[in-house]
């Protein structure tokens, strides 16, 4: 048996070189060694890897020399007997040795190298050198990011806005759109964008705010609102309800047209983008809290959309039906316009400017000058009453006008407390002349405090009716006649219907004259002079007032002598801010400077004007 070895090598330029060698007989050594008959120049092959020998007719035995196996038709083994006619394929490393029959008893052995798959040559090819990143290609990352953001940050939140996932989905998809934290009071709404943003593409409307904050709620409704907020997790603090400055339409009409091209551009932009400036949210701004600079962002940030005078200067030109006077600035602020009692019965009040020198007709006869005189009868009476009864000195304002316990203003003057020490009416009922009739008809006697033996009579001492013999009619007539107890303050007219009921003039004393602004007597400069003594007379010319018809309010010029005055000239000069006397939501109050801590819910209502009931 002869062996012909055909060794095939590839040329670099292409094509093959076939080298032939013939061996007359076996065995043939297969290996990398130079002495091997079948030389396999492959480092994976041993120097003497295997031996090929004849094994009977038409068969060959291949026996590994060392531990390393070889491949026979794809299987690895250390020893094999193959049939030549099967054309078996032996593999050694990267080389293939194909055995095939030749002419006669010739065996043809063909040795060739296995073609490397692309990219798996003997050395890295350019393709493997700089492989393109497969998973993280530029385009793949780009489109992945694009789609992720599109789905997570745009499509899903938009679907949530339109209620596809129900009104309160478990995962809050749209809060990622919040541009900044809400204030603490509203923080519980952080995950409920639609509490305020009720309509897509529509700026937050007042309805949303008013669903909780409107002042037009009854106490029961307010309680229900508070309870509802509590279940939503609102903070444990009072709910502030506020009244509108004016209706939205009036606000819009009252706002002046833009002035100058810059304002016109803003105004145009606001119209185009449908963001009117007369909304609650125009001034009360959320989402712009600064978690670093202002962690205790307690309530929405206040941003003034318009100054007061922006609208109130020339307001009557835009709001034809307004009752309010124009205020261009403090210097042109209209004079104080108190609500004056024009007639006590029937009650008629009218707002009259102090410039028109209004006179009040409260029905009371009371000369301030007489009572405040330091030498007249009242003064001596007060001295004689003594400090034990709260007097002891000539009368001053505080003798009758007592401060409110919480400060800021004065209590209404009540006859019994303020006048009673001097103008005693004893046990006589005050306020209703019909009660006098039953008092006297029922045999009620009057005991003079000082007794009839006293020589001098105080004003109001019941001398006239001290006699027990006089009839009820006589007694009542005495009270209402000149010199009588009642007549001095009230005046009177006799009964026309034959009864005993005299008609004393009813008294309607004003609780407040100025109902659209406020004045705080507690501010030291407002009530005390530079010497620290009460300086009521600066504003109230009571010492010179001989009749209760005098309306003892100052003119605005008195306010302006300090407010808005030149600091260089006036020692007590103060600012002239609208907010000192008025506020936006409740013009009767000054604007709160500091957030009131722990204050109760304030339902701001225009302060009701109550009237004294004929005392």
């Amino acid at each position: 048996m002869s062996f012909t070895l055909r060794q095939i090598t590839k040329r670099a330029a292409g094509g093959e070189i076939v080298r032939k060698k013939t061996y007359a007989e076996g065995p043939l050594r297969i290996g990398r060694g130079a002495d091997c008959e079948i030389r396999v120049p492959d480092l994976a092959v041993s120097i003497h890897h295997a031996t090929l020998s004849q094994e009977g007719l038409g068969r060959l035995r291949i026996q590994a020399v060392g531990d390393q196996p070889f491949g026979v038709d794809g299987r690895f083994t250390k020893s094999a007997v193959v049939k030549i006619s099967d054309v078996p394929e032996l593999s050694f490393g990267d080389h293939l040795l194909t055995i095939g029959p030749g002419q006669g008893d010739e065996v043809i052995l063909t040795l060739s190298r296995v073609e490397a798959a692309p990219g798996q040559g003997d050395v890295a090819t350019p393709a493997t050198l700089i492989p393109r990143a497969k998973v993280l290609g530029k385009r793949r990352i780009a489109w992945t990011g694009f789609l992720l953001i599109a789905v997570l940050s745009l499509i899903l939140p938009v679907l949530a806005v339109y209620g596809v996932f129900g009104s309160h989905p478990k995962i809050d998809l749209d809060s990622q759109w919040s541009s900044g934290p809400l204030s603490k009071t509203h923080a519980f709404l952080e995950n409920d964008c639609q509490a305020c943003h009720q309509q897509a593409f529509v700026a937050v409307r007042d309805d949303a705010c008013q669903s909780c904050h409107t002042a037009s709620q009854t106490p029961a409704q307010l309680q229900a609102t508070v309870a509802r907020l509590k279940t939503r997790g609102a903070p444990d603090q009072p709910l502030r309800t506020v009244a509108d400055h004016a209706g939205l339409r009036r606000l819009v009409w009252g706002t002046p047209a833009p002035d100058g091209w810059g304002e016109q551009v803003f105004d145009y932009a606001r119209k185009v983008f449908n963001k009117p400036q007369q909304r609650c949210a125009s001034c009360h701004v959320e989402h712009i809290g600064d978690p670093l600079g202002d962690p205790d962002h307690a309530k929405p940030t206040l941003q003034t959309a318009h100054s007061c005078t922006a609208c109130h200067a020339g307001l009557d030109r835009r709001l034809k039906d307004t009752r309010l006077a124009n205020v261009a600035d403090w210097g042109r602020h209209p004079d104080l316009a108190p609500l004056v009692t024009v007639s006590p019965s029937p009650l008629q009040v009218r707002r009259i400017s102090m410039a028109a020198h209004p006179s009040e007709n409260s029905g009371l006869i009371f000369p301030h000058d007489l009572h405040l005189s330091r030498t007249g009868g009242p003064a001596r009476m007060a001295i004689s009453l003594g400090a034990g009864r709260g007097y002891g000195a000539p009368l001053d304002c505080q003798s009758c006008h007592k401060e409110e316990p919480k400060g800021g203003n004065y209590l209404p003057v009540k006859m019994e407390a303020a006048c009673g020490a001097c103008h005693s009416i004893g046990a006589l009922p005050h306020g209703d002349t019909r009660k006098l009739v039953s008092f006297f008809s029922g045999g009620g006697g009057v005991v003079s405090r000082s007794g009839p033996t006293m020589g001098r009579r105080r004003p109001g001492d019941p001398e006239v009716y001290s006699g027990v013999t006089a009839s009820a009619a006589q007694r009542i007539r005495g009270l209402f006649s000149p010199g009588g107890t009642c007549f001095g303050c009230h005046g009177a007219s006799p009964p026309t219907d034959g009864s005993l009921v005299w008609r004393a003039g009813p008294v309607k004393l004003a609780d407040a004259w100025l109902t659209e602004g406020t004045f705080n007597h507690d501010i030291p400069e407002h009530s005390k002079g530079p010497d620290g003594q009460p300086a009521c007379a600066t504003c109230h010319a009571a010492g010179k007032s001989g009749t209760a018809k005098d309306l003892l309010l100052p003119r605005l010029a008195t306010c302006q002598s300090c407010h808005g005055a030149d600091r260089a000239k006036v020692k007590q000069a103060a600012g002239a801010d609208c907010a000192d006397c008025h506020s936006y939501h409740a013009p009767i109050r000054p604007t709160r400077k500091e957030p009131a801590k722990g204050s109760k819910a304030i339902a701001v209502q225009s302060r009701a004007i109550t009237w004294g009931t004929g005392q």
């Binding site: 990398r32 130079a34 120049p41 480092l43 994976a44 041993s46 120097i47 390393q68 040559g121 003997d122 050395v123 890295a124 090819t125 350019p126 493997t128 050198l129 700089i130 492989p131 990143a133 993280l136 530029k138 385009r139 780009a142 489109w143 992945t144 990011g145 694009f146 992720l148 953001i149 599109a150 940050s153 745009l154 939140p157 938009v158 749209d174 990622q176 759109w177 919040s178 541009s179 900044g180 934290p181 964008c193 943003h197 897509a200 593409f201 529509v202 937050v204 803003f266 932009a269 983008f273 449908n274 963001k275 701004v285 989402h287 712009i288 600064d290 978690p291 940030t301 206040l302 003034t304």
Partner: protein, 290 residues
């Protein structure tokens, strides 16, 4: 602003001016002016109660910024069309670079420094990422080509690969007399000397698992027990392995520089595309919750 000087009547194409210096830094000045104008406006704009994207000035800057972003992204389309003149691709790239940097000022002022975990800040962060990667790209383009050239030393990447292939063939021949263990060591070099691969592999020039390195180490140990003839062969093989090591280092350095040159784009481009969508979501969300 002065145009690039022309020499005689020749086209200025012969005097190479890079995109950074294009037209006497025209776009650098434009970008600077834009940034300063935005900053001055920011100070002058009386925005209450604090600067924020929802103020009139915020919307103004936001509109400018959004238009800029769209235009800057359009470079991806523009670069595929090459023209000459003032609106040449070079001019466009120059404007792209400087206006892109100015965008940082505009967008930051637009934000009013109001950041949070929201879509708005995501858009801002993506924009910063895009600009930073772009700035890195400029720096890379300024220094790396020279390093690349120095490393190549008049050869091409193809030649470097050929050198290694040739060394491999020689190694294969020189290693034939070696016994099995020694040959296995050489095969490490032939089969495991990987160049390239993933991003971090491409950045390392002397990987610990380099087959050639391991082959050299192993042969050093095996030479003591080798026969005389084997020692001679090992000497040849080691010399070849040393040469291959040097060749591999050069190729790896080449690849590392090329990777560094191209890597920024792998951030710049995807982040730009993501930014476009984040910007859309940013704008749409603002108008929905108007």
């Amino acid at each position: 602003m002065a145009r690039a000087p022309r020499k005689g009547k020749r086209s200025n194409a012969q005097v190479h001016v890079g995109f950074l210096r294009h037209a006497g830094y025209r776009w650098a000045w434009v970008g600077l002016a834009l940034s300063i104008a935005a900053a001055v406006g920011y100070v002058l704009a009386d925005v209450h109660p604090r600067p924020n994207g929802g103020s009139w000035y915020g919307y103004t800057l936001g509109t400018i910024g959004a238009l800029l972003i769209v235009w800057l992204t359009a470079l991806g389309i523009r670069k595929r069309v090459i023209t000459k003149g003032d609106w040449s691709l070079k001019a466009w790239v120059s404007a792209h670079v400087y206006l892109g940097i100015a965008l940082v000022a505009i967008a930051t002022l637009h934000s009013g420094l109001q950041f949070g975990w929201n879509i708005h800040t995501l858009a801002y962060a993506l924009m910063i990422l895009v600009v930073l990667s772009g700035v890195y790209g400029i720096i890379a383009y300024a220094g790396l080509p020279k390093a690349l050239s120095n490393n190549r030393r008049e050869t091409t990447q193809k030649q470097m690969v050929e050198t290694i292939r040739s060394l491999d063939r020689q190694l294969n021949d020189a290693a034939q007399p070696l016994n099995q263990r020694q040959a296995a060591a050489v095969r490490l070099s032939l089969e495991k000397s990987k160049v390239g691969g993933g991003f971090f592999r491409r950045l390392s020039t002397r990987p610990m698992d380099c087959g050639t390195r391991r082959a050299l180490r192993k042969l050093k140990g095996l030479i003591r027990r080798a026969s005389e003839s084997e020692r001679a062969a090992i000497g040849n093989v080691t010399a070849l392995l040393d040469r291959k090591s040097a060749a591999l280092l050069q190729l790896r350095k080449h690849l590392r520089i090329r990777t560094l040159l191209g890597a920024w784009l792998a951030i710049h481009v995807p982040a730009s595309i993501a930014l476009l969508m984040a910007l859309t979501a940013h704008i749409v969300s603002v108008f929905i919750y108007w």
